[in-house]
Amino acid sequence: MIEQNYDAIVVGSGISGGWAAKELAEGGMKVLLLERGENVEHITGYVNALKAPWEIPHRDTLTNLIREEQPVAARDYVIQESNANYWVKDRESPYVEKKPFDWFRGYHVGGRSLMWGRQSYRWNPFDFEANKKEGVGVDWPLRYEDMAPWYDHVESFAGISGSLEGLPQLPDGKFLPPMELNCVEKDVAARIKAHYQDRRRMIIGRVANLTVPHNGRNNCQYRNKCDLGCPFGAYFSTQSSTLPAAVRTGNLTLRPLSIVTRILFDRDRRRATGVEVLDTETRQTTEFRSKVVFLCASAMASAWVLMNSATDVWPGGLGSSSGELGHNIIDHHFRAGAGGEVEGFEDRYVFGRRANGFYIPRFRNLFGDKRDYTRGFGYQGTASRKGWERDVAEVGIGAPLKDALCEPGAWEIGMTAFGEILPNHDNKVELDRTRTDKWGLPILSFDCEIGPNEKRMRVDMANDAAEMLEAAGVRNVKPYDRGYAMGQAIHEMGTARMGHSPKTSVVNKHNQVWDAPNVFVTDGACMASSSCVNPSLTYMAMTARAAAFAIGALRKGDV
């Protein structure tokens, strides 16, 4: 069955897909937005968002049922009872781990834009130059100057709160007023600044939560329940932001429950003609036609679509001619840092639940610093008073325990680094055609791990954190390295990297697949390196930039 034609088909409705749909629809394109999962309506679909803690039966503990259905998600902290509905049912969509890989997925309209951490940082100019300078991976065919106007563009719409710092390694942007460090964080920040003569700085996180009303959306209410969906629309998600904008144009058709199984390819024209969709309700297969396809299914799923679009022209999948499709998986390695206890401030507390923490921008291997590894890391953390969950060793049970736990405990502070991972051809994902998922589709098989550069960096990630906290007067400081598995930061990227040449990369500088230039890959798949900052803002900017190019090309008939 062949359905009607569109100007553009967007595959995936997460952060990247939402942006593609908005930009293309606002540019006058007739857009079909395909999402493999079900719809989650803004506000009314956030079923647990307004429940009190005691209305969550197991008080957010994972039940045996959740663990059985979602064994991968249950490996880490991200899933709880109250948001389990937003995480994929792993049992239905299995994958192979030749080496450990945490693949945390959200299969519904909005994708992981509903549950993301919302930390939003620009890359710096050095990030785009590092591959070339070091001869690692491939050189980015674009530079910070190419991206800066698009960062402006997406920040202005999405609403990113943050402070202007004037740091070359963390460029300022079009920010809403910053959130506030708490009193202990301010004190530690001042001591770090003094101790390191401002070469290291602790700032409030730059976060996609509105601190003032913005574009018709409400400001943050400091509930810290973002990952349940925000009934105030106060953080950036597809639902709160890009989807309504796309819908307003009248140019958007949203089709949930639609797994894109492959991109249709015209071998004579060397162009995609549309996509094949499996309707997960009816199990019917339908072909949709379009002039361009935007692949925004998430780094791994976009790679899957390309691989599963193999033809006799490209037996390794569409975009496989370079031999790089599915290779060069990167993420951020983390879970190394330090924590400690803070004395004093017993007469200070906080009001409100701030869904944000502090950030320490990268300082390693910059401005003359030279380590035994390349690239660097930034820290994220929080100071807070201990709560009712703490151990009170000096009392047993009964009224003394109850009374003690009714009051807050001492202040503590902790942070973890997020470190850059170098691209490496050997880190790859492949299609395993011998195994299938619930829908009879072949599944992905992961084979990747961190290398010596990351392992050396982790030593600094723990020690530098401890050193800074000690310099700031924090007591009982303990560095830690709790280990890391690829994918765990949920910043997975790199499977269809961008480059200068069709011989060594999958997409060009406009995110066009070299082998089919009317296919654009704008999610994390296109990343040729990872920087050490959270990637979503860059996906937004990259997508908006590629969409503008695609609109121009379509108008000129160039694509």
Partner: protein, 204 residues
């Protein structure tokens, strides 16, 4: 996406958003030092889901109510029993514990009865409040001393499970959140330098 948040004793949640609510459950694990009871098997990658979960008897529910009330008693604020702690424990053990922990918890109910008979020469429910408190304090000392001694994969001392469930069940209940602690559904603003006087309640 972001962040770590696995444990908080020594810091870092990679996701600064992952603060109180999300971490409450993980942190309760730290209350008594270690992973959340019942989760060890999963964390080690060998899921053993709890399938055998015959219901608890009325007698057991009453016993769990009184154990919870002994751990978190009514003061000027109602205690764990008023928060429905017996039913909460039964639900948690049935729905969230794996079979081994479930069995260890049930053995613990007999264990606490045996301890009451040995110490007080009568069933736990017939003990006075003072007797129950003394017994529970002794068991708490026992579980605390016991912690370092058990193997990594061993089930914890039963009283540790009871204490953990009582603290979690009480402080996350409506009474716990709104009377023992303070909870505001929609704070609307943030103040990072808010005055605190000794005796002020903690936020949930």
């Amino acid at each position: 996406m972001s962040a770590s948040g696995t444990g908080r004793a020594h810091g870092g949640r990679a996701d600064p958003a992952a603060i109180s609510r999300r971490e409450a459950v993980r942190r309760i694990a730290l209350l008594l030092g270690g992973a959340m009871v019942g989760s060890q098997a999963y964390l080690s990658g060998q899921p053993v889901p709890g399938k055998a979960s015959p219901g608890f008897t009325q007698g057991e529910l009453a016993l769990m109510d009184e154990i919870g009330e002994t751990i978190i008693p009514a003061t000027d604020i109602p205690g764990a029993k008023a928060a429905g702690i017996g039913a909460f424990m039964a639900m948690m053990v049935t729905d969230c514990y794996d079979d081994r922990h479930h069995a260890a918890f049930r053995e613990g109910l007999s264990g606490i009865e045996a301890a009451a008979r040995e110490r007080c020469r009568k069933p736990f429910l017939e003990c006075s409040r003072e007797e129950r408190t003394a017994l529970a304090n002794a068991l708490d000392a026992e579980q605390r001393a016991d912690q370092g001694k058990r193997g990594k994969d061993a089930t914890p001392h039963y009283f540790r499970m009871m204490k953990e469930l009582s603290v979690l069940g009480f402080f996350s209940s409506e009474i716990g959140c709104t009377r023992a602690l303070r909870y505001i559904e929609v704070p609307g603003s943030f103040n990072g330098n808010y005055p605190y006087r000794k005796g002020d309640r903690a936020w949930f």
